[in-house]
């Protein structure tokens, strides 16, 4: 790992949210609650004219309720190696990939939010590095 930086953010520990379609007679309204929790702290209500079936509303609510607690956007810069990878080498990390990071203070998991690949050529050397922004959750994950 070449560089590591992080930006902290936090959100209340929502455990419920109301997701609703906007149009009467066509949309549906869903109260989504995290299983095993009381469902008292509501996230901001979300509406969309496309939420016309409960399954869509439930999944929208599930994603909203995942965005809670202590989080960090972690930027990791690592060399980008070609396939096949040798032990210890890191291949291409794509957005939405789940990434396991083994650090000095333990192992944690994050989801890749974005990626930036830098290629530079100086004299005879070509250096390829990738900077992945990982979304790390401290409250609900490791």
């Amino acid at each position: 790992m070449l560089t590591e930086s992080l930006q902290m953010r936090s959100a209340p520990l929502y455990d419920a949210v109301v997701v609703t379609g906007e149009l009467a007679g066509k949309g549906v309204t869903c109260k989504v609650r995290r299983s095993g929790e009381e469902g008292r702290l509501y996230a901001q209500q979300v509406s969309s004219p496309l939420i016309t079936v409960p399954a869509a509303g439930a999944e929208r609510g599930r994603n909203i309720l995942c965005d809670r607690g202590e989080q960090a956007a972690v930027d990791l810069t690592v060399p980008l190696f070609a396939q096949p990878l040798k032990p210890g080498e890191v291949g291409l990390v794509l957005p939405l990939d789940l990434v396991e990071v083994v650090g000095a203070d333990g192992t944690w998991h994050g989801q890749c939010e974005s990626l930036r690949i830098e290629v530079s050529a100086d004299d005879q050397a070509v250096v390829i590095e990738q900077t992945a922004t990982l979304e790390r959750h401290y409250t609900d994950a490791d």
């Binding site: 790992m1 590591e4 149009l23 957005p95 789940l98 974005s114 290629v119 050529a121």
Partner: protein, 193 residues
């Protein structure tokens, strides 16, 4: 290296390729030193360019894509910067995406990622039809329309999923805990090494 009209070529000194979970096309700022080929480069927009770069094998796929010069900007130190943007979306859509969300495809891809990890992921959205009059997308591109459908159910369209033959919708966030490492990053030190 970029092949310009007339088979002129630009040597690349530095380039970077950013992408995110909500980006379909790729904006590829490309910085190249002025050479004979660059002198003949027109300043007009939408000049077809074929990127034939191949570095460590990672840009092989790019080699076949025809990009377009979106803008030219002359920089100091006798360099020009080419900003290129792909006009092609590179999305092959399953037929059922035209009327709904291919949730089954998402579930399959996620299940493959989570295999043998001990983690589980759920994304239970099903295909659904939007009633007439509930929504219109006259001013949107087809991909914008599909993205809106995905967003409504908490998902995002992955344009070129590496293990899927068609575009699929994946959840923006997993039902945590997050799991399923496909990549492992090992850190020896937390600072520059």
């Amino acid at each position: 290296m970029c092949c310009l009209p007339g088979d002129d070529r630009l040597g690349s000194k530095r380039s970077h390729e950013p992408c995110g979970r909500a980006i379909f096309g790729i904006t590829l700022p490309h910085q190249a030193p002025i050479c004979a080929g660059a002198n003949g480069l027109p300043r007009a927009h939408l000049v077809p360019v074929t990127v034939v770069a191949g570095l460590h094998g990672f840009f092989g796929e790019v080699a076949k894509r025809h990009l377009q010069v979106e803008s030219l900007r002359e920089e100091k130190r006798a360099q020009r910067s080419l900003a290129t943007i792909s006009p092609h979306r590179h999305v092959r859509m399953a037929q059922n995406l035209s009327v709904g969300i291919a949730g089954w495809e998402s579930a399959r891809v996620i299940a493959e990622e989570l295999a043998d990890t001990g983690f589980t992921g759920e994304y239970d959205t099903v295909d659904w039809n939007v009633p007439a009059g509930a929504w219109f997308y006259d001013a949107s591109t087809p991909l914008d329309a599909i993205s809106a459908l995905a967003e409504a159910s908490g998902g995002v369209v992955q344009s070129t999923p590496p293990r899927s033959p068609c575009a699929c919708v994946r959840p923006i966030r997993r039902a945590l805990g997050i799991g399923a490492p496909r990549h492992r990053i090992t850190c020896c030190r937390r600072t520059l090494c």
